[in-house]
Amino acid sequence: MTSFHEVQSICPYCAEGCGFYTQVEQGKASNIEYMKKHPVNEGGLCLKGNAVLDIIYHENRIYSPLAKKDGNTFDNISWDEAINAIVSNFKKILKKHGPGSLAFLTSARCTNEENYLFQKLARIIGTNNVDCTSFYEGNLNIVDFSTSFGSACATNPLSDLANSECILISGSNFTDNHPIVSHWVFEAKSRGARIIYIDHRVPSSLLICDHFLQVNPGTQAVLIDGMIIHILEKNLYNKQFIEERTSGFEVLQKSLRKQSLKQVEKISGIPVAKIKEVAEIYASSSTSAIIHCTDFNPQHGNSKGTTNPANLALLCGHIGRTGTGIFPLLEHNNAQGSYDMGVSPHLLPGRAGVKDDIQQKKIAKLWHIKNLPSKGGLSFPEMTKALKRHRIKALYIMESNPLEEHAHADQLKHALKGLEFLLVQDNFLTETAKQADIVLPAVSWAEKTGTYTNTERRVQLQPRIINPQQHTIPNWQVMCDIAKKLGFKKQFSFSNTENILKEITKAVPAYTGISATRVKRTEGIIWPCPTPKHPGTSILYTEHFHTPDGLGKLSPVFYEKKAEKPTQKYPFRLTFGKAPTFYSAAITHLEIKSSTPASSELFVEINPKDAKKINIQNQSEVKISTRLGNVKATACITEKVLPGVVFIPFLPASNNGKILSSVDPRAKIPELNAATCQVKGSGGKQGD
């Protein structure tokens, strides 16, 4: 029998950050084993988690730097040649057009160390044009919390959900996307908690909730406002908490005075009595928590999709204690960490604004430079526009595949052609990489050493499991090589990832007490961790909020825009969500095995009543058209969706991209839950 050893590992897919062991046999990752003692998942792993090893030895991985020859063909080149070509291109463009002509895009799948270096490289070159593509799939649902609470993150650890007496789930399809969260919800339920589930689509198990409120698409926030109205009317709010811990109560009260529950019923489709019932349950339980997720965020007429739940929690004082709080479920494994690292055109490491003098000086000193660029940079959607106007000349993309993962893929693809130089670093020759002038092979998760911060703010270490395969070099080393040749030797002389983490702890206040040795432990460390002895802070805001005045801010929500209304030509509301087999590009290259053969095809869910009306059969091919384009899908007739509503999963984005348009004005997230569409059987009669 061959011997193997087990290495503690963190799942590289979603932001739950589940732990498991990878078994290594003769230098190869051979199998996985469950880690029963992990604080997030207690051994459990979802479909994706069971397939973590597939990506490591995937036959489509690239192992050598590539240079574009002509059109679509590439030549293998050496690392030296590649780095030299990159540096000379960057230098040339910098000289001719200045640092503002460079842009940097990364992914929330990269480690804290990688993303920290990535934004450092951009800023040292002299631009804030650095962003994370993963933030634009609804992942920015944490941003509004910085206004309400002072920090943009979840408040309590997932396991604390078990201590809740009431859990309000809003727009979060977590049974599909974050299955491990279900464990804690069931745990709470078995202890007698009441679960309220608000979504426009029936979850895969209705047994998870006591009250299911099937709202009209994109109206969850309005429904929550309805709950707030009732709580205010009946004086069910926590008066002491409001007096001592919050600000803005009167303004909120005033803003909602004009609205009535009848109106809320009309918009959301939920009867007044039901709204009152769930509002009373949430407000009167001694501990209530709120879970919300991607689906919740991008919706019409209300770009502040997360302000309403924050208001609700503050109003009832259900925050800052065990069993309470808000749990935004992020999508990618390191979404929270990437945000903390300052991968943002407007935020420096430590989540201070790029114009914040104090943090700017601190970072400049740490990086041995005179000053940082103080002009805000371009966000990913803005970059697309700037690309079209040829204002960006060079783009560096790390482990991100916007052409396959995002809306507007066609426009972006066209815009990329105007670049003088495109550098892509990835595991695969993705659609995006195919457009590049130079492609660098990235190492997979198992070949990296680094830390990830999960959706609970838990910083965990992923030690290197196997050596980088063939000729690959870890991303951080590649970035250091490029930076050194650009003349930033002093700033990028790291000998290992531990050194980078040390610098992170100096740059990001919440990470101060974190060290490689400390995050090695199975339970990691939950930031804020201000000193090396500090145990970490699992529950935030126990005494005060992180706002300047220490108070939680209740802010009224205004509904500015009107949703695209169904018309005779486009009679259906088109809604999107994540299905487990449509995770992201990492998976599109994997084709996760599944016993349901149809699951990897694009499908569209439609209510039986509508299907009958427009005369389409189950499993038949249909065409979905919006004002912007169309896509073919297999019809799935189900009562999961309301009449008048159709649902399609995210991705393959190259398809979705064709039928989406507008971008949410605040978070700049493609607006997904607001379009109207037409569904037509292929060859059949058009419905009206």
């Binding site: 199998n31 996985i32 084993e33 469950y34 029963k36 998942n41 207690e42 051994g43 459990g44 792993l45 979802c46 479909l47 988690g49 069971n50 397939a51 049974t175 599909d176 299955p179 491990i180 279900s182 464990h183 069931f186 078995s190 007698g192 029936v202 979850p203 895969s204 198990s205 209705l206 047994l207 998870i208 487990p580 996760i592 095995k593 599944s594 016993s595 349901t596 189900t638 009562e639 999961k640």
Partner: protein, 158 residues
């Protein structure tokens, strides 16, 4: 004597298919457990139930299927003639036969049990809908749950 059995907390299955993925991984790419939708809303993960009076064992002409003293129905490949009788009689449709005429069914992760590890589908289950425990423990938990529910209903009313 049966030590532990596979059981399902039926109300906790979210049809995430993690058990199928885990079973595939443990059994060379073929899953012996099937997340079976009952209706639009509910599903159950179904695998060999290792029936007390196993029809598959009864009909097997070559004793390729055997009921062990531990209560598991196990398969001996060497004795199998690929007659498919077991597939025909299995009331749950959880016995498959591959192209090489080999019977594929849940072996309770015998390889894992030998090392003291629970079956893969049980450990991977995100919601602990699948459990591997002594029968008495399972039933007592169900009773406890029931009691809690009744109690909770009463408090709600009161």
């Amino acid at each position: 004597m049966i030590s532990k059995v596979l059981s399902i907390n039926i109300d906790q299955c979210i049809a995430c298919q993690a058990c199928e993925a885990a079973c595939e991984r443990e059994h060379g790419g073929i899953s012996h457990i099937f997340v079976t939708p009952i209706n639009d809303k509910y599903s159950i993960p179904l695998s060999c139930l290792h029936c007390g009076k196993s029809p598959c064992v009864d009909v097997c002409p070559t004793k390729a299927l055997e009921k062990t003293s531990h209560g598991a129905v196990i398969f001996h490949k060497i004795r199998c003639i690929g007659c498919r009788l077991c597939v025909i009689v299995c009331p749950f449709g959880v016995i498959q036969i591959d192209e090489g005429n080999t019977v594929l069914k849940c072996d309770s992760c015998a390889n894992r049990l030998k090392k003291g590890k629970d079956p893969a589908c049980v450990l991977t289950c995100p919601t602990k809908a699948l459990v591997y425990e002594k029968s008495a423990k399972i039933t007592s938990r169900t009773r406890k749950k029931r009691a809690l529910k009744t109690k909770h209903k009463e408090t709600k009313k009161g």
